[in-house]
């Protein structure tokens, strides 16, 4: 599903974010990418969604070589990968319903399909009663649910969650992780970027540990070892 070959990312000569990182993530996997701040987790996530180009190496997503992806091809890639961010990245001037709808509208989905899918997805994340609220009227956990709903409407094969629980309390963290596991259970590949030890240890899934921009360990049923 995702194939990274010898990825190196250099922002400045004295700032090397990733060094010769190679890894394969298969379809249907639930992979945690862990590491301390500055280990290169977020850079790796950005390279997977073409937010940053690698300095060296090759990136394949679903067989598509996105190493030198053209600007006009990026929207197509983003519609195939659901992304969840720590700071939610919701459109503040749009309601919950509109935020979720927007992801379908940009892809040119017909109105009928939008009207079918969006209520279903909002129900899955437990926000069916808050469709017409604005993000500022929601709690952190609820906002993260909206982000998950938005990333799910495309029925993506890959869901990339970059520190999705970073701003949440224990209860909301638990709920969000339950949701991600449910999504993975239905066949979506989930890549979780986190430095939350308890979350990773509770999953008992594959864990890739990064340190100083390099893969330190890659364990099938790993734990947070740093």
């Amino acid at each position: 599903m995702i194939h990274l070959e010898h990825i190196t990312k250099i922002y400045h000569p004295d700032s090397v974010a990733l060094q010769d990182v190679s890894l394969k993530i298969e379809a249907g996997e639930f992979v945690s990418i862990v590491g301390q701040s500055g280990a290169g987790k977020t850079t790796l996530a950005k390279i997977m969604i073409a937010e940053e180009p690698p300095t060296h190496g090759r990136v394949l997503v679903g067989g598509w070589d996105i190493t030198h992806i053209r600007s006009y091809e990026i929207p197509e890639l983003r519609r195939q990968i659901g992304v969840i961010f720590q700071d939610y990245k919701l459109l503040q001037k749009k309601t919950v319903y509109e935020n979720v709808t927007f992801a379908l509208e940009v892809a040119g989905a017909p109105q009928k399909r939008i009207q079918e899918i969006v209520p279903q997805v909002l129900k899955i994340v437990g926000l069916e009663g808050k469709a017409h609220r604005f993000p500022r009227q929601l709690s952190g956990g609820e906002q993260q649910r909206v982000v998950i709903a938005r990333s799910l409407v495309h029925r993506p094969k890959i869901l990339l969650a970059d520190e999705p629980t970073g701003n949440l309390d224990t209860m909301n963290t638990h709920d969000i992780m339950e949701l991600l596991l449910k999504i993975n259970h239905f066949g979506t590949t989930v890549i979780l970027v986190t430095h939350n030890r308890e979350v990773v240890n509770g999953l008992r899934r594959r864990v890739i540990t990064l340190k100083d921009g390099k893969v330190l360990t890659d364990l099938a049923q790993g734990k947070y070892i740093l």
Partner: protein
């Protein structure tokens, strides 16, 4: 088609949900347009004043008292036939005397001197108005033709020559200065509008990058912003037109007494020229908002 409709709806929602930014932008646009229009109005008024002054200038040809009416009439027809002449008024000798007495009613010495003379010392007069002030020198020559010169006692154009030259000079300077000021203010207006759009889009830079992250194409992101710019331009034109209309209605009656009851030329100018003004100002504003929105949004569309 469905995408265009979504862009249209999104632009309208953006406008209504960013009310304060929209109002601030419209206000700045209006200030820019009003500054240009105020100058256009002042320019139009000055032109009107110059025209009024020019219309007050005439040339009076006084004939000798013994000149026959036939000669005066002949001169009148001759002058009327000249293309440079706007009108020729005829004042009989008696009317000229009455006017003279009225003019000097407060001067007993002049009136006493007049009484000592036997009969009317004044002859008939022709009051000539040229179509343009530039034409008077030619008319002076025309009147001085050998055919009429022996019958002419005096002509008063020389008295006005300095005034006419001064009016023409002022008129020329006013036109030049007005055009320069309008051009400068138009440039300031464009710069102000340019900045207002950039600020409005800057406040939404985060939203733009999020749209990109969830898979929106550049055109889908830009579309609503460009359309929003169009709405702002249209609303500005409507509000500015109303403001200018109200200003004219309020100002015109106050200006009339200053111009001896004549209209100031403000309403005439704006009513007569509104399609051109609207086309130029609206076109500039729409063009500007489109180009700047396109460029400013592009700045925040990352990979």
């Amino acid at each position: 088609m469905i995408t265009l409709w979504r862009i249209f709806i999104a632009s309208w929602k953006n406008l209504t949900r960013n009310t304060w930014i929209a109002l601030a932008t419209i206000f700045v646009f209006m200030m820019a347009l009003l500054s240009v229009n105020v100058l256009l109005g002042v320019n139009a008024m000055l032109e009107r004043v110059v025209t009024l002054l020019e219309s007050k200038v005439d040339m009076t040809v006084a004939f000798k008292p013994a000149t026959s009416e036939a000669i005066v009439n002949q001169a009148r027809f001759y002058l009327t036939s000249l293309p440079q002449v706007s009108s020729v008024g005829f004042v009989t000798a008696a009317e000229a005397l009455t006017a003279f007495k009225t003019r000097h009613a407060g001067d007993p010495k002049v009136l006493a001197a007049l009484d000592e003379l036997n009969g009317n010392p004044l002859g008939a007069q022709l009051v000539i108005k040229a179509k343009q002030s530039d034409d008077y020198p030619f008319l002076v020559q025309a009147v001085q033709s050998p055919q009429y010169k022996p019958f002419i006692q005096s002509q008063t154009y020389d008295d006005h020559q300095v005034a006419i030259a001064r009016v023409r000079e002022v008129s020329h300077s006013v036109r030049l200065l007005g055009a320069a000021l309008v051009a400068i203010f138009a440039l300031f207006g464009l710069l102000i509008a340019f900045n207002a759009i950039r600020v409005a889009i800057y406040t939404q830079r985060e939203e733009i990058s999020i749209m990109r992250l969830v898979g929106a194409s550049s055109s889908f992101i830009r579309g609503p912003f460009i359309l929003e710019g169009l709405w702002l331009a249209i609303l500005t034109l409507v509000f500015s037109s109303v403001a200018i209309g109200l200003i004219i209605v309020w100002l015109e009656p106050s200006l009339r007494p200053l111009l001896d009851g004549a209209d100031s030329g403000l309403a005439t100018f704006f009513v007569g020229q509104w399609p051109t003004i609207l086309l130029i100002e609206g076109g500039s504003l729409v063009g500007l908002t489109t180009i700047i929105s396109w460029l400013a949004v592009g700045k925040y569309i990352k990979r």
